[in-house]
Symmetry: C2
Subunit: 244 residues, 2 copies
């Protein structure tokens, strides 16, 4: 067997969101990530492997390819033996009676991947994203979440509408908010985090009632704001620290 | 004026640590970062700018270059008008009577950059790195710290020796440590964070007395460990939260 032209074309196209949506497929690479997905409820469409002995317990079509063929279809610097095409699962209904993280136009795949891992770590199963947030089936997100992608329910919604309709209290990070270390935080809430350069949009800002500040100890005039992923880490830790 | 062959060669060589050390110079790019460095105590060697009106208050050699020349010397996807060569400052003595973050073989420039910004945010002026930690004058680190590099004193040392000799209590993150949310933390301490894949080395682990765990709320069997930068964010927040 070897890689057909059609498969090469299909896999390359899946690096773009519109083709992922058209084919309802996404790419995962490397033995570890592919195995985690194979052992999950995510459906698998096709496995390409340079190793004839790659062990797939599920019934699935496997094509054995050469190292050079893997290089052609991989987006990794160091491709690792196997690339799988998986089916994008249908989003489950959002559990409204829980703790929810919401993202308003987070653009960087690395930041989204880190936030998905943080949600998984802190037992947050609901991640709600504005439609202009980077796609969670982007291959950089898939690789950086290391399997957490399976355990967090990610929904892309009209975020202003969602926040207007939720009965949960809505929080965000803001330079002029309440000191997070001195605020009583509820167990169930929505925490909205914003875009890397601009924070949350004005429209969202008008909806959010509770603004939290992570106090700054360094020189107030000079220190840059925290990166969105590290700010999310600190705020999630504050919401959850009373529960352990 | 335009870019000489010698300058092109010099600037390209500075992308490697050994040439930064040989010439005692590092690169910074973009109007914002270059201006922050120009306004600091860091010495400047040379500015290359595509904009004749780029305003430098200090007395410094400026070469006006073309957009194409800037592209040749820039490591950014979108070069931003100006590139500066700055002098690597002498490391100041480590303030031993303070709060210190120590890094054991952190390899990723993005992680080091994020940790430098976190130190700046939390008022930590002392960052001590093992000699095999990535160089803080690596251009990716310089660009991602956005000026925090100036305000944090970064020293590369023999880390086991440093930790053996310090009189401060030494903490690290560990899966089997004490719940950080239930531990009384001192104001002055050393917090050691480890390599992305392997954590802290065995040698360091034997020296560190206090091991802290960030409790995990997700599925304990499956969730991956936190990224070193997000774990540092949460632990620094815990050490500092009582002080604001």
């Amino acid at each position: 067997m070897s890689l057909s032209k059609n498969n090469l074309k299909l896999i390359t196209s899946l690096q773009q969101k519109k083709y992922r949506q058209k084919h309802n497929l996404f790419i995962a690479e490397g033995i570890k990530v592919v195995n985690e997905l194979l052992n999950s409820s995510i459906g698998v469409a096709h496995i390409f492997s340079t190793d004839e002995n790659f062990n797939v317990s599920k019934e699935v079509e496997i094509t054995i390819i050469s190292d050079n063929e893997l290089k052609k279809i991989s987006t990794l610097k160091n491709p690792n033996k196997v690339l799988g095409l998986f089916k994008i699962p249908k989003a489950k209904e959002i559990l409204n009676d829980s703790f929810i993280v919401a993202l308003d136009e987070v653009n960087d795949p690395g930041n989204l991947g880190t936030i998905i891992r943080l949600c998984d770590w802190f037992g947050v199963t609901e991640l709600v994203c504005s439609k202009n947030t980077v796609d969670c089936y982007n291959q950089k997100v898939v690789q950086s979440t290391m399997g957490s992608l399976i355990r967090v329910n990610i929904s892309y919604v009209d975020l202003p509408e969602f926040l207007t309709n939720t009965k949960l209290p809505v929080f965000t990070a803001d330079m002029d908010g309440e000191n997070v270390y001195k605020t009583d935080l509820p167990k169930k809430a929505v925490l909205v985090m914003g875009n890397e350069a601009n924070g949350i949009s004005e429209e969202i800002s008008e909806i959010v009632k509770h603004k939290l500040t992570i106090p700054r100890f360094g020189d107030i005039q000079q220190t840059e704001s925290l990166n969105v992923a590290t700010a999310t880490a600190i705020l999630l830790s504050e919401f959850k620290r009373g529960l352990k």
